[in-house]
Symmetry: D3
């Protein structure tokens, strides 16, 4: 009786795509307007998928309210209304692409949630660009 | 030449989360405002995924209009504008969480659709809370 | 320098459409499955439009965070995860149609918000059925 | 034979809410996390409403492709992937709230589009917070 | 006690923008790829806004189920899965732009619905292009 | 460090479902109003999922801007504002169902994108009907 539950949360952040090992010219060529030195920003939509057995007493895989609180305390408080490059330690030496943000979020939540549950992150940078980590 | 088709339908129902083996206090603690004795309700969005071979004569995996009719006759008529706890026999002794509703729907549709097709249910209780059964 | 701001909030409630002055048969004829005696329910989406001058010091017509808190304390706490017919005093003698719910919400908020601001409510019962009060 | 046409465009920007006449403490109290010195950001959704007569030869009020090009050249190029506070001259001395951004956009487009058409801007900062300028 | 109710319906049609008084070259210049001689198509989303008094006995401005049936019998049956240019008499000598389709729909519904109700049509050709008739 | 990225694009086309080996009567029975001889149309929404390793230098699985350009040049230019049956060679002898359109798109993109990336297509014919190819 395995099922998956999904919980959606949101955060609004500034970021800049940049590789410090590269010249300004190469950064501009590769990242285009995403390399703007003064940053730009997004409304990120985060979807956490959690897979496990349906508990017979509750009928839940996991309490959605608890999951929402956990995502808010571990992720949203850390990333919302922040500059990902300047305010978030994980991106001090890591380019804050959607792919890397999804990895960082997965690694944080993985430590907070019992190993018996499988986890997957979908992160929407815009309605038309989004990523999944890990891949299926 | 396997593909999956999806069909979305909707139903609007009242429900209450409650475990009759537990005290009122424990029910309140676990289910919070979802335990309100007078019920609350949702616009449920149901997505049926059906996987099979693309038929050479029709170009269909399955006729979407037939699938819609089948979901309406087997599921929507049963659950729409109903009180899941009081009006639907499957939830007489089963807590109508999104997880359990998705299981009930899958079990009903599984009997109505040829075994050569794989089925999966996604059930949205709200835009931000949804479940998948069975899990992948 | 007049502008309008909108804030969206949500509540999930059970209700039943019924006119106690009418026979059961007439209620069934007029309200159809919305008259189910055991109730059904919806995810209501509430949009508050507030019109006023843009304040020169803040650049706000009204602080959206304050507006959200106000809607939550005055409306969402009252209606969310409730049975509108049984749990909400305003609907003791008033049929909880989308039109009437929108009026009730407008009347409550009108008392909480300074008269210099114009207010309008849009209430979505489903994605495809919604109402506006007052009309323009 | 008057009708209105709407065209939706998008831009992704960083910003910070701040009033330089106020102390840091007052800014923090009024603007909360929107005052973060390192900025945060949004996916802004812009809706332009243009009202006029339906042309008998084209059946258009205004060519939607031309309108899209105009919004892109006059607005999107100016605001997309920018820091509104640092990169956009109009916000050098104006707080980039949604209300003020909508005004700035309206003023720019008003000069580009023949006076016989009425214009209105709807600007979404998030799905749940948006503004309209001018107000109706 | 005036309120407005909205009902959303859908139709999927082929069309071509073309002015028979113009040369092929001028048609191509003005309408671009929308002038493709073999047609293209859209999922049209239709929103009917109806304004009137809230009835004291029902709590309705107008029964949404009746409104849906009326739109389906008068509009959807006429336009859905049709070629607007070839199959719909109203567009025999009228270019099927979104503006003109909205007018045609309004004129048909105006005859079907009591004059005491005000009507407005919003017609979405795509998510990003839509029109309102009559204009406010 | 495998992840998946998704890119959404759109095209608006006319089509007709028809099997030339069948009688008109059988075509009408099987395909219903989708068999209309003068065609109908849709706003198709295309989602490309691409799975691969996250590049250490860019933080990308694949540059979303490049992916968007590739989809536009290989797919959107070919299908947008076209009649799939009459204007697109791949459907000269293939019924343009959503399933078959998804296959055709996958086969074209498979040749354009390095084999080290896995690809999947989701194609929405309407919000409520969509297909995935290949199936998982």
């Amino acid at each position: 009786m395995k099922a998956s539950i999904y919980r959606e949360e949101h955060f609004n952040s500034a970021h800049r795509l940049h590789n410090p090992k590269w010249s300004d010219k190469k950064n501009k060529t590769v990242f285009g307007k995403c390399n703007n030195p003064n940053f730009h920003g997004h409304n990120y939509k985060l979807l956490l998928k959690l897979t496990g057995n349906i508990d017979e007493n509750t009928g839940y895989v996991y309490d959605a309210k608890k999951l929402s609180k956990l995502i808010k305390s571990a992720i949203i408080n850390k990333l919302d209304h922040k500059n990902l490059n300047l305010d978030v330690v994980e991106f001090k030496h890591l380019n804050p692409t959607a792919e890397n943000i999804a990895c960082v979020i997965w690694n944080i939540l993985r430590k907070e949630i019992n190993e018996k549950y499988q986890l997957k992150i979908t992160l929407y940078e815009t309605e038309r660009n989004f990523v999944e980590y890990p891949s299926t």
